[in-house]
Protein backbone atom coordinates (compact mmCIF):
# COMPACT_ATOMS: atom_id res chain seq x y z
CA UNK A 1 0.00 0.00 0.00
CA UNK A 2 0.96 3.64 -0.33
CA UNK A 3 4.30 4.69 0.94
CA UNK A 4 5.25 1.45 2.68
CA UNK A 5 9.01 1.40 3.05
CA UNK A 6 11.44 -0.02 5.59
CA UNK A 7 12.08 2.28 8.56
CA UNK A 8 15.27 2.67 10.56
CA UNK A 9 16.04 0.76 13.75
CA UNK A 10 15.76 3.90 15.84
CA UNK A 11 12.39 4.79 14.38
CA UNK A 12 11.16 1.26 15.01
CA UNK A 13 12.23 1.62 18.64
CA UNK A 14 10.26 4.88 18.81
CA UNK A 15 7.11 3.34 17.36
CA UNK A 16 7.28 0.31 19.64
CA UNK A 17 8.08 2.34 22.76
CA UNK A 18 5.18 4.68 22.01
CA UNK A 19 2.94 1.63 21.59
CA UNK A 20 4.09 0.12 24.92
CA UNK A 21 3.61 3.38 26.78
CA UNK A 22 0.17 3.79 25.23
CA UNK A 23 -0.82 0.31 26.40
CA UNK A 24 0.61 1.06 29.84
CA UNK A 25 -1.46 4.26 29.97
CA UNK A 26 -4.64 2.57 28.81
CA UNK A 27 -4.23 -0.15 31.45
CA UNK A 28 -3.20 2.20 34.23
CA UNK A 29 -5.19 0.24 36.77
CA UNK A 30 -2.49 -2.41 36.47
CA UNK A 31 0.19 0.24 36.85
CA UNK A 32 -1.49 1.55 39.99
CA UNK A 33 -1.59 -1.93 41.47
CA UNK A 34 2.15 -2.25 40.81
CA UNK A 35 2.86 1.06 42.54
CA UNK A 36 0.89 0.03 45.60
CA UNK A 37 2.62 -3.32 45.64
CA UNK A 38 5.99 -1.56 45.81
CA UNK A 39 4.73 0.81 48.51
CA UNK A 40 3.39 -2.12 50.52
CA UNK A 41 6.77 -3.84 50.27
CA UNK A 42 8.46 -0.72 51.60
CA UNK A 43 5.97 -0.60 54.43
CA UNK A 44 6.47 -4.28 55.25
CA UNK A 45 10.20 -3.83 55.75
CA UNK A 46 9.45 -1.55 58.69
CA UNK A 47 7.35 -4.29 60.26
CA UNK A 48 9.90 -6.99 59.55
CA UNK A 49 12.75 -4.94 61.05
CA UNK A 50 10.82 -3.28 63.83
CA UNK A 51 10.13 0.36 64.56
CA UNK A 52 13.77 1.27 65.24
CA UNK A 53 14.09 4.28 62.92
CA UNK A 54 17.89 4.29 63.19
CA UNK A 55 18.16 0.81 61.71
CA UNK A 56 15.56 1.66 59.09
CA UNK A 57 17.30 4.87 58.11
CA UNK A 58 20.67 3.15 57.87
CA UNK A 59 19.34 0.41 55.58
CA UNK A 60 16.94 2.60 53.62
CA UNK A 61 18.93 2.29 50.38
CA UNK A 62 18.82 -1.49 50.51
CA UNK A 63 15.09 -1.58 51.22
CA UNK A 64 14.36 0.83 48.39
CA UNK A 65 16.17 -1.36 45.89
CA UNK A 66 14.66 -4.57 47.19
CA UNK A 67 11.19 -3.05 46.78
CA UNK A 68 12.11 -1.95 43.27
CA UNK A 69 13.55 -5.37 42.45
CA UNK A 70 10.42 -7.20 43.60
CA UNK A 71 8.22 -4.82 41.65
CA UNK A 72 10.47 -5.17 38.61
CA UNK A 73 9.88 -8.93 38.48
CA UNK A 74 6.15 -8.27 38.17
CA UNK A 75 6.61 -5.46 35.65
CA UNK A 76 9.02 -7.46 33.49
CA UNK A 77 6.78 -10.50 33.48
CA UNK A 78 3.82 -8.33 32.53
CA UNK A 79 5.67 -6.67 29.66
CA UNK A 80 5.86 -9.97 27.77
CA UNK A 81 2.51 -11.28 28.95
CA UNK A 82 0.99 -8.38 27.00
CA UNK A 83 2.75 -9.66 23.89
CA UNK A 84 1.59 -13.23 24.43
CA UNK A 85 -2.11 -12.51 24.29
CA UNK A 86 -3.04 -13.05 20.62
CA UNK A 87 0.67 -13.71 19.91
CA UNK A 88 1.29 -10.04 19.23
CA UNK A 89 5.02 -10.63 19.53
CA UNK A 90 4.74 -12.77 16.40
CA UNK A 91 2.73 -9.98 14.83
CA UNK A 92 5.61 -7.57 15.48
CA UNK A 93 8.26 -9.96 14.20
CA UNK A 94 6.33 -10.61 11.00
CA UNK A 95 5.42 -6.95 10.46
CA UNK A 96 8.51 -6.93 10.20
CA UNK A 97 10.04 -5.19 13.21
CA UNK A 98 13.72 -5.72 13.97
CA UNK A 99 14.09 -8.00 17.01
CA UNK A 100 16.81 -5.71 18.35
CA UNK A 101 14.38 -2.81 18.21
CA UNK A 102 11.89 -4.92 20.17
CA UNK A 103 14.59 -5.46 22.81
CA UNK A 104 15.51 -1.81 23.02
CA UNK A 105 11.91 -0.63 23.23
CA UNK A 106 10.98 -3.20 25.88
CA UNK A 107 14.09 -2.54 27.95
CA UNK A 108 13.61 1.23 27.73
CA UNK A 109 9.93 0.91 28.58
CA UNK A 110 10.71 -1.23 31.61
CA UNK A 111 13.47 1.13 32.72
CA UNK A 112 11.10 4.10 32.45
CA UNK A 113 8.47 2.27 34.45
CA UNK A 114 10.97 1.42 37.19
CA UNK A 115 12.24 5.00 37.26
CA UNK A 116 8.70 6.22 37.74
CA UNK A 117 8.30 3.73 40.59
CA UNK A 118 11.58 4.89 42.08
CA UNK A 119 10.51 8.52 41.88
CA UNK A 120 7.30 7.65 43.74
CA UNK A 121 8.98 5.44 46.34
CA UNK A 122 11.73 7.84 47.37
CA UNK A 123 9.53 10.48 49.06
CA UNK A 124 7.60 7.71 50.79
CA UNK A 125 10.87 6.19 51.95
CA UNK A 126 12.07 9.54 53.24
CA UNK A 127 8.87 9.96 55.24
CA UNK A 128 8.55 6.36 56.41
CA UNK A 129 12.13 5.67 57.48
CA UNK A 130 12.96 9.20 58.59
CA UNK A 131 16.04 9.48 56.41
CA UNK A 132 17.71 12.75 55.52
CA UNK A 133 19.00 13.32 52.01
CA UNK A 134 22.54 14.60 52.38
CA UNK A 135 23.47 14.94 48.74
CA UNK A 136 21.51 16.64 46.00
CA UNK A 137 18.57 15.38 43.99
CA UNK A 138 20.84 15.14 40.96
CA UNK A 139 22.85 12.26 42.41
CA UNK A 140 19.62 10.64 43.51
CA UNK A 141 18.23 10.82 39.98
CA UNK A 142 21.47 9.46 38.54
CA UNK A 143 21.46 6.53 40.97
CA UNK A 144 17.86 5.61 40.26
CA UNK A 145 18.32 5.93 36.50
CA UNK A 146 21.45 3.78 36.40
CA UNK A 147 20.01 1.20 38.77
CA UNK A 148 16.71 0.87 36.92
CA UNK A 149 18.45 0.54 33.58
CA UNK A 150 20.70 -2.13 35.06
CA UNK A 151 17.69 -4.18 36.17
CA UNK A 152 15.71 -3.75 32.98
CA UNK A 153 18.23 -4.83 30.33
CA UNK A 154 19.00 -8.36 31.55
CA UNK A 155 15.47 -8.51 32.95
CA UNK A 156 13.99 -7.99 29.50
CA UNK A 157 16.06 -10.80 27.97
CA UNK A 158 15.22 -13.18 30.79
CA UNK A 159 11.57 -12.23 30.82
CA UNK A 160 11.32 -13.03 27.11
CA UNK A 161 12.84 -16.43 27.81
CA UNK A 162 10.86 -17.19 30.94
CA UNK A 163 7.54 -16.13 29.41
CA UNK A 164 7.75 -19.12 27.06
CA UNK A 165 8.97 -21.69 29.57
CA UNK A 166 7.11 -23.76 32.11
CA UNK A 167 6.94 -22.29 35.63
CA UNK A 168 7.72 -18.86 34.25
CA UNK A 169 6.77 -17.02 37.42
CA UNK A 170 9.45 -18.87 39.36
CA UNK A 171 11.96 -18.97 36.57
CA UNK A 172 12.26 -15.23 36.01
CA UNK A 173 13.36 -14.32 39.56
CA UNK A 174 15.49 -17.45 39.75
CA UNK A 175 17.38 -16.37 36.64
CA UNK A 176 17.39 -12.67 37.37
CA UNK A 177 18.23 -12.36 41.08
CA UNK A 178 21.73 -13.89 41.12
CA UNK A 179 22.59 -11.99 37.95
CA UNK A 180 21.45 -8.67 39.31
CA UNK A 181 23.41 -8.89 42.59
CA UNK A 182 26.29 -6.62 41.46
CA UNK A 183 23.87 -3.96 40.23
CA UNK A 184 21.74 -4.25 43.35
CA UNK A 185 24.81 -3.95 45.52
CA UNK A 186 26.10 -0.92 43.67
CA UNK A 187 22.72 0.81 43.53
CA UNK A 188 21.98 0.18 47.21
CA UNK A 189 25.45 1.38 48.24
CA UNK A 190 25.19 4.44 46.03
CA UNK A 191 21.77 5.26 47.47
CA UNK A 192 23.09 4.94 51.02
CA UNK A 193 25.95 7.27 50.16
CA UNK A 194 23.56 9.77 48.61
CA UNK A 195 21.45 9.63 51.75
CA UNK A 196 24.19 9.68 54.36
CA UNK A 197 26.91 11.62 52.60
CA UNK A 198 30.06 10.44 50.91
CA UNK A 199 33.08 11.51 52.95
CA UNK A 200 35.46 9.02 51.30
CA UNK A 201 34.41 9.71 47.69
CA UNK A 202 33.24 6.17 47.03
CA UNK A 203 30.19 7.15 45.02
CA UNK A 204 32.19 7.40 41.79
CA UNK A 205 33.38 3.80 41.88
CA UNK A 206 29.83 2.49 42.46
CA UNK A 207 28.62 4.61 39.56
CA UNK A 208 31.46 3.15 37.51
CA UNK A 209 30.32 -0.35 38.34
CA UNK A 210 26.72 0.49 37.41
CA UNK A 211 27.73 2.12 34.13
CA UNK A 212 29.90 -0.85 33.22
CA UNK A 213 27.10 -3.24 34.12
CA UNK A 214 24.68 -1.27 31.96
CA UNK A 215 27.02 -1.13 28.97
CA UNK A 216 27.66 -4.87 29.11
CA UNK A 217 24.05 -5.97 29.47
CA UNK A 218 22.48 -3.51 27.06
CA UNK A 219 25.11 -4.61 24.55
CA UNK A 220 24.63 -8.33 25.22
CA UNK A 221 20.86 -7.98 25.10
CA UNK A 222 21.05 -6.14 21.80
CA UNK A 223 23.22 -8.89 20.34
CA UNK A 224 21.48 -11.93 21.81
CA UNK A 225 17.81 -10.96 21.90
CA UNK A 226 17.10 -11.81 18.24
CA UNK A 227 18.18 -15.39 18.96
CA UNK A 228 15.81 -15.51 21.92
CA UNK A 229 12.62 -14.57 20.10
CA UNK A 230 13.24 -15.83 16.57
CA UNK A 231 12.54 -19.53 16.04
Amino acid sequence: MRGARPISLLKTVGVLLAKDLLIEWRTRARLNALIFFALATLLLFSFAVGPDTKVLARNAGGYLWLALLFASVLALGESFRVEQENLTLDGLRLAPADARAIFLSKAMGNALLLMLLGALLIPVMVALYGVTVTMGLGSFAATVTLGCMAISAPGTVYSAIASNARARDVLLPLLLFPLIIPALLAAAKATSLVLQGDPMNQLGSWYGLLIGFNLIYWGLGFLLFPRVIED
Partner: protein
Protein backbone atom coordinates in the same frame (compact mmCIF):
# COMPACT_ATOMS: atom_id res chain seq x y z
CA UNK B 1 15.99 -27.96 -14.45
CA UNK B 2 13.23 -25.70 -15.61
CA UNK B 3 13.49 -23.10 -18.34
CA UNK B 4 15.44 -20.08 -17.19
CA UNK B 5 12.68 -17.61 -17.98
CA UNK B 6 10.19 -19.35 -15.73
CA UNK B 7 9.56 -17.36 -12.53
CA UNK B 8 10.43 -19.14 -9.28
CA UNK B 9 7.46 -20.94 -7.71
CA UNK B 10 5.29 -18.83 -5.45
CA UNK B 11 5.87 -21.38 -2.74
CA UNK B 12 8.30 -24.28 -2.62
CA UNK B 13 8.76 -26.87 0.13
CA UNK B 14 11.86 -29.02 0.01
CA UNK B 15 11.65 -32.06 2.31
CA UNK B 16 10.30 -29.92 5.15
CA UNK B 17 9.95 -31.31 8.68
CA UNK B 18 8.98 -29.41 11.79
CA UNK B 19 9.10 -30.72 15.32
CA UNK B 20 7.49 -29.28 18.44
CA UNK B 21 9.14 -30.79 21.47
CA UNK B 22 8.92 -34.46 20.64
CA UNK B 23 6.03 -34.35 18.21
CA UNK B 24 6.53 -34.01 14.48
CA UNK B 25 3.95 -31.58 13.13
CA UNK B 26 5.23 -31.83 9.57
CA UNK B 27 7.19 -34.75 8.22
CA UNK B 28 9.20 -34.67 5.03
CA UNK B 29 6.87 -32.50 3.03
CA UNK B 30 7.81 -31.51 -0.51
CA UNK B 31 5.60 -29.37 -2.69
CA UNK B 32 5.76 -26.60 -5.25
CA UNK B 33 3.10 -24.02 -6.08
CA UNK B 34 3.53 -22.22 -9.42
CA UNK B 35 3.03 -18.47 -9.52
CA UNK B 36 -0.42 -17.29 -10.40
CA UNK B 37 -2.10 -20.24 -8.71
CA UNK B 38 -3.72 -20.40 -5.31
CA UNK B 39 -3.47 -23.25 -2.86
CA UNK B 40 -6.10 -24.86 -0.66
CA UNK B 41 -4.78 -26.65 2.43
CA UNK B 42 -7.08 -29.26 3.88
CA UNK B 43 -6.79 -31.82 6.62
CA UNK B 44 -8.09 -32.58 10.09
CA UNK B 45 -7.21 -30.59 13.16
CA UNK B 46 -3.59 -31.22 14.04
CA UNK B 47 -2.67 -32.33 10.54
CA UNK B 48 -0.08 -29.57 10.21
CA UNK B 49 -1.91 -26.86 8.24
CA UNK B 50 -1.24 -24.11 10.75
CA UNK B 51 2.38 -25.17 11.18
CA UNK B 52 2.89 -25.06 7.43
CA UNK B 53 1.43 -21.57 7.19
CA UNK B 54 3.54 -20.37 10.11
CA UNK B 55 6.64 -21.79 8.45
CA UNK B 56 5.88 -19.95 5.22
CA UNK B 57 5.15 -16.77 7.19
CA UNK B 58 8.63 -17.17 8.84
CA UNK B 59 7.06 -17.24 12.28
CA UNK B 60 8.77 -20.62 12.65
CA UNK B 61 11.85 -22.16 11.10
CA UNK B 62 11.77 -25.68 9.69
CA UNK B 63 13.61 -28.27 11.76
CA UNK B 64 14.83 -29.85 8.54
CA UNK B 65 14.46 -28.89 4.92
CA UNK B 66 13.87 -25.56 3.21
CA UNK B 67 10.86 -23.35 2.55
CA UNK B 68 11.02 -20.79 -0.25
CA UNK B 69 8.63 -17.99 -1.12
CA UNK B 70 9.06 -16.63 -4.64
CA UNK B 71 12.60 -17.95 -4.71
CA UNK B 72 13.61 -16.48 -1.33
CA UNK B 73 14.55 -18.78 1.50
CA UNK B 74 12.36 -18.37 4.59
CA UNK B 75 15.31 -18.62 6.98
CA UNK B 76 18.30 -17.02 5.31
CA UNK B 77 16.30 -14.31 3.55
CA UNK B 78 13.78 -13.90 6.32
CA UNK B 79 13.44 -10.14 6.04
CA UNK B 80 12.74 -10.24 2.31
CA UNK B 81 10.09 -12.91 2.78
CA UNK B 82 8.49 -11.03 5.66
CA UNK B 83 7.82 -8.05 3.44
CA UNK B 84 6.13 -10.25 0.84
CA UNK B 85 3.88 -12.44 2.95
CA UNK B 86 1.11 -11.67 5.38
CA UNK B 87 -0.51 -14.13 7.75
CA UNK B 88 -4.07 -14.24 9.01
CA UNK B 89 -3.78 -16.66 11.91
CA UNK B 90 -5.89 -18.08 14.71
CA UNK B 91 -4.18 -15.61 17.00
CA UNK B 92 -5.20 -12.22 15.74
CA UNK B 93 -1.93 -10.37 16.51
CA UNK B 94 -4.13 -7.63 17.98
CA UNK B 95 -3.43 -5.72 21.20
CA UNK B 96 -6.49 -6.22 23.37
CA UNK B 97 -5.98 -2.95 25.23
CA UNK B 98 -5.63 -0.75 22.15
CA UNK B 99 -8.51 0.40 19.98
CA UNK B 100 -9.07 -0.95 16.48
CA UNK B 101 -7.71 2.27 15.02
CA UNK B 102 -4.64 2.30 17.28
CA UNK B 103 -3.85 -1.30 16.38
CA UNK B 104 -3.80 -0.45 12.70
CA UNK B 105 -1.81 2.75 13.23
CA UNK B 106 0.96 0.87 15.04
CA UNK B 107 1.32 -1.47 12.09
CA UNK B 108 1.16 1.39 9.57
CA UNK B 109 3.96 3.16 11.42
CA UNK B 110 6.06 -0.01 11.51
CA UNK B 111 5.55 -0.37 7.78
CA UNK B 112 6.77 3.20 7.34
CA UNK B 113 3.60 4.58 5.78
CA UNK B 114 3.22 8.29 5.15
CA UNK B 115 -0.16 8.90 6.75
CA UNK B 116 -0.73 6.07 9.24
CA UNK B 117 -3.99 7.43 10.62
CA UNK B 118 -5.55 7.87 7.17
CA UNK B 119 -4.52 4.42 5.99
CA UNK B 120 -5.98 2.92 9.16
CA UNK B 121 -9.22 4.84 8.68
CA UNK B 122 -9.63 3.69 5.07
CA UNK B 123 -9.09 0.06 6.00
CA UNK B 124 -11.61 0.27 8.83
CA UNK B 125 -14.14 1.48 6.29
CA UNK B 126 -13.26 -1.39 4.01
CA UNK B 127 -13.86 -4.05 6.65
CA UNK B 128 -16.90 -2.22 8.05
CA UNK B 129 -15.62 -1.38 11.51
CA UNK B 130 -15.85 2.42 11.38
CA UNK B 131 -18.43 2.58 14.15
CA UNK B 132 -16.23 0.67 16.56
CA UNK B 133 -12.90 2.13 15.52
CA UNK B 134 -12.34 3.72 18.93
CA UNK B 135 -13.38 0.77 21.08
CA UNK B 136 -10.69 -1.40 22.61
CA UNK B 137 -10.33 -4.79 20.93
CA UNK B 138 -11.10 -6.46 24.26
CA UNK B 139 -14.77 -5.55 23.71
CA UNK B 140 -14.88 -7.04 20.19
CA UNK B 141 -16.71 -10.19 19.19
CA UNK B 142 -14.81 -12.99 17.48
CA UNK B 143 -16.14 -11.97 14.09
CA UNK B 144 -15.09 -8.36 14.56
CA UNK B 145 -11.62 -9.44 15.55
CA UNK B 146 -11.43 -11.48 12.38
CA UNK B 147 -12.38 -8.45 10.31
CA UNK B 148 -9.81 -6.29 12.05
CA UNK B 149 -7.20 -8.98 11.52
CA UNK B 150 -7.95 -9.06 7.81
CA UNK B 151 -7.58 -5.26 7.72
CA UNK B 152 -4.16 -5.80 9.24
CA UNK B 153 -3.33 -8.28 6.48
CA UNK B 154 -4.60 -5.97 3.74
CA UNK B 155 -2.46 -3.13 5.05
CA UNK B 156 0.68 -5.09 4.28
CA UNK B 157 -0.44 -5.49 0.64
CA UNK B 158 1.35 -8.85 0.46
CA UNK B 159 2.38 -10.80 -2.62
CA UNK B 160 1.45 -14.00 -0.81
CA UNK B 161 -1.51 -14.00 1.58
CA UNK B 162 -1.58 -16.86 4.09
CA UNK B 163 -5.07 -17.38 5.47
CA UNK B 164 -5.53 -19.78 8.36
CA UNK B 165 -9.23 -20.59 8.79
CA UNK B 166 -10.45 -17.19 7.51
CA UNK B 167 -14.08 -18.37 7.67
CA UNK B 168 -13.92 -19.59 11.25
CA UNK B 169 -16.12 -17.70 13.73
CA UNK B 170 -17.90 -15.80 10.94
CA UNK B 171 -21.64 -15.72 10.26
CA UNK B 172 -22.92 -16.48 6.72
CA UNK B 173 -22.80 -12.80 5.76
CA UNK B 174 -19.28 -12.61 7.14
CA UNK B 175 -18.22 -15.66 5.16
CA UNK B 176 -19.57 -14.07 2.02
CA UNK B 177 -17.70 -10.85 2.71
CA UNK B 178 -14.53 -12.80 3.37
CA UNK B 179 -14.93 -14.67 0.08
CA UNK B 180 -15.27 -11.34 -1.68
CA UNK B 181 -12.08 -10.04 -0.09
CA UNK B 182 -10.19 -13.19 -1.06
CA UNK B 183 -11.46 -12.89 -4.65
CA UNK B 184 -10.28 -9.29 -4.75
CA UNK B 185 -6.88 -10.32 -3.47
CA UNK B 186 -6.66 -12.98 -6.18
CA UNK B 187 -7.78 -10.56 -8.87
CA UNK B 188 -5.06 -8.14 -7.89
CA UNK B 189 -2.48 -10.86 -8.45
CA UNK B 190 -1.92 -12.01 -4.87
CA UNK B 191 -1.07 -15.66 -4.31
CA UNK B 192 -3.51 -16.99 -1.75
CA UNK B 193 -2.75 -19.95 0.47
CA UNK B 194 -5.93 -20.92 2.27
CA UNK B 195 -6.38 -23.43 5.06
CA UNK B 196 -10.01 -24.20 5.84
CA UNK B 197 -12.50 -26.89 6.78
CA UNK B 198 -15.07 -25.42 4.38
CA UNK B 199 -13.86 -27.45 1.42
CA UNK B 200 -16.57 -26.23 -0.96
CA UNK B 201 -15.76 -22.56 -0.53
CA UNK B 202 -12.08 -23.35 -0.63
CA UNK B 203 -12.31 -25.35 -3.84
CA UNK B 204 -14.18 -22.49 -5.48
CA UNK B 205 -11.37 -20.09 -4.60
CA UNK B 206 -8.24 -22.16 -5.20
CA UNK B 207 -6.88 -24.03 -8.18
CA UNK B 208 -4.52 -26.31 -6.28
CA UNK B 209 -5.10 -28.47 -3.25
CA UNK B 210 -2.80 -30.05 -0.71
CA UNK B 211 -4.30 -32.48 1.76
CA UNK B 212 -2.34 -33.07 4.95
CA UNK B 213 -2.59 -35.99 7.30
CA UNK B 214 -0.37 -36.18 10.37
CA UNK B 215 2.06 -33.79 8.80
CA UNK B 216 2.38 -35.60 5.50
CA UNK B 217 0.87 -34.88 2.09
CA UNK B 218 -1.67 -37.48 1.03
CA UNK B 219 -4.20 -37.77 -1.78
CA UNK B 220 -7.49 -36.20 -0.71
Amino acid sequence: MEARSAPPPALALHDVSKRYGRRWALARLSYSLPQGRSLLLTGHNGSGKTTLLRLVATALSPTHGRVEVRGNDCVTQRDVVRREVALLSHASFLYEDLTAHQNLVVLARLLGMDAPADVAGELLVKVGLTKRSDSPVRQFSAGMRKRLAIARLLMKAPAVALLDEPFGELDPAGIEAMEKIIRELKDSGVTVVLATHLIEQGMALCEERLHLQEGRAVAA
